[in-house]
């Protein structure tokens, strides 16, 4: 297949390497160095999609990041990605892409009916629709809109690509490698500054790639190539292409997305697809250039209507003619540059210039080439449905209100230039309050807010000579401040053609009796008439107009539409543009892949996984693991075909009858040392700590200042000034911060040090009536009798040559001990316990059995200490000292906390002794009461009591103290269950606590 619109020579593509690709199922050819857009245009393909709302045929409008139409679904190496701009996607062998917004196909599109029904889809359509009956919305509108709209389909498959994050620091970050960026980078680099130069396109040089200028006796492009080549050899410079700086955040933090592999058929081994750079820059030079803006006229969205600069770029960079009968419609000199390029390639353009009698070097050149120029002429409307076939043109009066006689001229493309809009997004994101520059009808950055400076076209400076001068100067001044070097650089001579003033003209009036759609926002289908409706309906603020009409809200963020929208509002409202103001620019400047934002923190890597030293033993012994925060803990150890219920019941039962061992390494551990350690504990915990003897442990509860329980655990006095605190697994980090807060800020006079030792100790809880017998065999030289090691006692022991700490504490309510050894010996300890415990029928038990044991004992845990309960609620008021002060004590006097019918922990048993009560169920008096049924309390934890062989739950119940014996209902609408229950004591098993002391 021939590339009918590719010229013989020229362009920066590699004609040696032909590439095949598919678009909407059809095979085409292009060259290495093409974009998908340039390759399609080379093949004469202009119809690439349908518009968002009216589904009108859409082609290419730009040649880069500003493209509003040509958004495609890309298929690459078995993956698919939506919302890809064909103008940015580089061609590779085997690329496949499809149009979006089309159903069933780009040529026959059902949504295009909207185009004929558009009277029903005016501005605010979506807002108004949302207010219609809800049933209509989800049955009729939503499915229709979902099917017909959208910018492609996100893949539902696992993304096999890898994305990386990188943190970088530099002296000077430069956004954009046009003349300004290159000059700034070069000057700064020569001063020894650490420079990062970022270019979003594959090729460096920006406007120098397409402009007819001369710098230091070289073409603009050759000069740019030379500078880039030199920068690349400098160790203090990072030069990155395919890298878009899309966000400017606080304190000079900028984020850049580097497309590492998108231009390749598949990602190379060990390479990421994209790399997200977080760059902290001392200074930022914004040289992001400018984007040509359209002139608004009838049917200006027809395929074949495009920016004149894009037509020039397709020709100069890709060797592609966007048409053979071009019409150039301009209000400034830029259109002539495009016309001249056409002419040089043997194509005869017609130039319509809205100006009456402009004079400049460029226009002279065009005239000398014999180009047909019509002054005071405009395009009234494009004609043709899927492609421009002709244009209605007319002369226009000087006040731009009256059109002359309408003539129809044949053409196959309309290249439009409405002057240039500086790309101020990054400056605006930095907090810079932009200002309106009258001479160019556009906003430019104002006073710098962060350490940023905007230069060149991005600052509204369109003269190359001035751009280079200011940028070289800025580059050397900014770097001089940092490196204190001052290497002078000679600013090269510049030859460029002088331009004349542009015409402040942006919208062609409608001819009498015609009602052409004149689009402002091409991607979101916002036309002049929509803005008029919004204003008629009373919207005034530009932010409201934007949201009501969706002007500038598409994925191109109104790069080509914003200013024309503002012009229109200002005209109708009779205000000047700066008074209307522009909408706020927010990151990202261009769409960024979610994958790039997430980076490598996906799947198992979305958070770290913590494992105890005994983890491999658990794995080998059929442990079924459960996430406990970031820890992996055995939930139960499966035997045969056991399920969770059967396995955990067996394990819990074995603890009650023989002995079990549980990995408790995950408990938070904090080492506390210093002469004031006891005083700190006394202030942190609700109970008294000043008289705890050495070698004794104590259970404690700590509150937040608002009186709510923060955490509980045991703390042991290891020696005179040395304590070992344990916290719950979940609260370990918070408790450490809490202690540090009081020690550093509130009571700095206390001489105490705290440090986390969670990872230094491996822990095993040995629980059950036979635990002492086992312990004695593990520590034959220690006296672990009830007298030698009483309840809440502590001793050190020798575990087959390993130093161990033995605490007689119990969470299960059984006679129990906890043995700690240094983590490296954790597995050794565990294996010894299992080996020696064999004769006592030891079984390891997981968190499910652990829960069962604590629930039927009425011991509180995280589900009761849920950030909403005070000590009384958990039946822990006995631990609240009346004598001393402590953190949060004063709050316990709050009237709600001392109310007579204050909530309190209770036990709950189903009347049928069969039905397990779902956790989270509400307790109500009357299951038939009308909704909302008054809630008396909720089920905090449920288990199957192994002691009584029936379900048992804990609940936090209003007036729980006086509710024992009452019959209520546990309701779980979620599980569709209503269970009649009886309220009992929370201490279901061994209420006097005799076993732990036995």
């Amino acid at each position: 297949m021939t590339q009918a619109f590719r010229i013989e020579n020229g362009g920066l593509i590699n004609r040696e390497k032909k590439l095949s690709f598919k678009f909407n199922g059809k095979t085409y050819f292009g060259y290495e160095g093409d974009t998908l857009a340039s390759a399609l245009l080379a093949n004469g393909v202009h119809l690439v999609g349908r518009s968002f709302k009216y589904h009108r045929p859409r082609g290419f409008f730009g040649a880069g990041v500003d493209e509003p139409y040509a958004v495609v679904q890309l298929y690459r190496n078995g993956e698919t990605e939506p919302n890809i701009k064909a103008t940015e996607q580089e061609l590779f062998e085997g690329l496949e892409a499809k149009s979006v917004n089309c159903w069933p196909s780009v040529n026959f599109d059902i949504g295009a009916i909207n185009n004929f029904l558009r009277i029903f889809l005016p501005a605010g359509f979506y807002y108004k629709t949302f207010m219609w009956p809800k049933s209509f919305w989800y049955r009729i509108y939503e499915p229709f809109i979902r099917k017909a709209a959208g910018l492609g389909v996100a893949s539902t498959k696992h993304d096999n690509e890898r994305y990386e994050h990188k943190y970088e620091y530099c002296d000077l970050l430069i956004a954009g490698s046009g003349p300004s960026g290159l000059a700034g980078a070069y000057a700064a680099a020569k001063n020894g500054a650490k420079v990062i130069l970022a270019e979003d396109k594959p090729r460096f040089g920006g406007s120098l790639l397409t402009s007819d200028v001369n710098i230091g006796n070289q073409s603009g492009k050759d000069w740019a190539d030379g500078i880039v080549a030199e920068l690349k050899t400098m160790p203090n410079v990072v030069v990155k292409n395919r890298s878009q700086i899309f966000g400017y955040y606080d304190h000079n933090m900028l984020v850049m997305s580097e497309k590492v592999s998108d231009h390749l058929p598949s990602t190379k081994k060990y390479h990421p697809n994209k790399r997200l750079w977080y760059i902290r820059a001392k200074e930022v030079l914004i040289s992001s250039g400018s984007i040509e803006r359209p002139i608004v006229f009838g049917n200006n969205d027809t395929p074949g209507v495009m920016l004149s600069s894009a037509a020039k770029e397709y020709l100069k960079v890709y060797g592609v003619l966007v048409g053979r009968k071009p019409l150039v419609f301009t209000n400034n000199d830029s259109g002539y540059e495009t016309a001249i390029e056409f002419k040089k390639h043997g194509v005869d353009p017609v130039v319509l210039d809205s100006r009456k009698n402009p004079v400049s070097e460029i226009i002279d050149e065009a005239k000398n080439l014999g180009i047909n120029i019509k002054n005071s002429y405009v395009v009234v409307a494009a004609q043709g449905y899927k492609k421009v076939k002709s244009a209605d043109i007319a002369s226009i009066s000087e006040d731009k209100k009256q059109l002359g006689k309408i003539e129809n001229v044949q053409c196959d493309c309309i290249c439009v230039s409405g002057f240039w809009t500086p790309t101020i997004h990054l400056a605006s994101q930095s907090g810079n309050k932009t200002k309106f520059k009258e001479e160019i009808d556009a906003f430019v950055p104002g006073q710098s807010k962060q350490n940023e400076i905007t230069l060149g076209a991005a600052n509204g400076v369109f003269s190359l000579e001035e751009t280079l001068k200011t940028s070289f100067t800025a580059g050397s001044e900014l770097s001089k401040k940092i490196t204190e070097n001052d290497n002078k650089i000679a600013i090269p001579n510049v030859v460029e053609k002088k331009s004349s003033q542009h015409d402040k003209f942006w919208c062609v009036p409608l001819p009498k009796g015609k009602n052409y759609k004149r689009f402002l926002d091409f991607q979101n289908d916002v036309a002049v008439s929509d803005i008029e409706i919004a204003l008629r309906e009373g919207y005034r603020s530009i932010e409201h107009v934007k949201r009501y009409t969706t002007l500038g809200m598409a994925t191109d963020q109104g790069k080509t539409s914003n200013l024309n929208g503002l012009q229109l509002v200002s005209e109708i409202e009779n205000k000047v543009v700066p008074a209307v103001g522009h909408t706020t620019f927010r990151p990202p400047y261009t769409p960024v892949s979610i994958g790039a934002i997430v980076g490598r923190e996906v799947g198992k890597h979305s958070k770290p996984t913590r494992k105890s030293p005994m983890h491999s033993w658990h794995e080998k012994n059929n442990a079924v693991f459960v996430d406990a925060g970031v820890w992996l803990r055995p939930r139960y150890y499966r035997r045969g075909n056991e399920n969770l219920f059967e396995g955990s019941k067996r394990e819990a039962k074995n603890v009650r009858t023989n002995v079990g061992v549980c990995d408790v390494t995950t408990l938070g551990k904090i080492d506390i040392k210093g002469p004031d350690a006891a005083e700190l504990l006394n202030r942190v915990y609700t109970n008294s700590w000043l008289k705890l003897p050495v070698g004794k442990a104590r259970y404690g509860v700590m509150l937040r200042e608002d009186g709510i329980v923060m955490d509980d655990g045991t703390t042991t006095r290891i020696s005179e000034n040395h304590y070992h605190m344990t916290t719950t697994t979940a609260q370990a980090a918070n408790v450490l911060s809490h202690l540090e807060y009081y020690l550093q800020l509130v009571w700095p006079e206390l001489n105490v040090n705290v440090v986390s030792t969670t990872e230094q100790w491996a822990g095993a809880a040995i629980a059950g009536p036979k635990s002492r017998d086992l312990l004695q065999k593990l520590f034959p030289n220690s006296d672990v009798s009830n007298g030698g090691l009483p309840f809440m006692g502590y001793m050190e022991g020798d575990l087959f040559g390993v130093k161990a700490r033995i605490y007689r504490i119990s969470f299960s309510g059984e006679l129990a001990y906890e043995v700690n050894v240094e983590s490296d010996y954790g597995n050794f300890m565990w294996e010894k316990i299992i080996e020696v415990g064999e004769e006592f029928n030891i079984q390891p038990y997981g968190t499910e059995a652990l829960s069962t044991l604590r629930i039927e004992m009425g011991h509180v845990a995280g589900s009761e200490l849920d950030g909403r309960t005070i000590p009384f609620d958990n039946a822990l008021e006995g631990l609240v000292s009346k004598k001393k002060d402590f953190i949060g004590k004063r709050s316990l006097q709050r009237s709600a906390f001392i109310a007579e019918d204050r909530q309190r922990i209770v036990g709950v048993v189903p009347l049928d002794k069969q039905t397990s009560i779902p956790e989270g169920s509400h307790l109500v008096k009357d299951d038939k009461a009308p909704l909302p049924n008054p809630k008396l309390g909720h089920i905090s934890a449920s288990c199957w009591s192994v002691e009584y062989d029936n379900p048992f739950s804990l609940a936090i119940l209003k007036d729980g103290k006086n509710m024992i014996g009452q019959k209520l209902f546990a309701m779980s609408p979620l599980k569709n269950k209503v269970i009649p229950v009886e309220i009992v004591s929370s201490h279901y098993v061994d209420p006097k606590g005799e076993r732990v002391r036995s």
């Binding site: 943190y167 955040y249 606080d250 304190h251 000079n252 933090m253 977080y278 902290r280 907090g431 807010k449 202030r683 200042e705 608002d706 980090a733 911060s737 540090e740 807060y741 550093q744 800020l745 509130v746 700095p748 001393k884 002060d885 004063r890 709050s891």
Partner: protein, 89 residues
């Protein structure tokens, strides 16, 4: 992302810190009689300032020190940082 000058470690990115609220709040002394109003002011009542605000941050992924940061809540400009025991003039 803010760039915070830890008085112990130097310039560090915000993601090494955790926020700790208003640094001007003073905890009533232990064992002192305090009125409901005083206690409520200490526990709950905070000004939601626009502008200069003295606040606490903890360098949790660094030196673990609590520090005071003088920051503009509207512009995020950070003026000064202080050690926990430094008096703010």
């Amino acid at each position: 992302m803010l760039y915070i000058n830890c008085p112990h470690c130097g310039m560090r990115s915000q993601n090494e810190f955790s926020y700790g609220g208003d640094a001007s709040v003073k905890r009533p002394e232990l064992n002192k009689e305090v009125s409901d109003q005083e206690w409520d002011d200490f526990v709950y009542n905070r000004k939601s300032l626009r502008g200069k605000h003295l606040e606490l941050w903890q360098h949790i992924s660094g030196c673990r020190q609590w520090i005071k940061v003088e920051r503009d809540t509207a512009t995020h400009e950070i003026f000064r940082t202080f050690k926990a025991d430094e008096e703010v003039a």
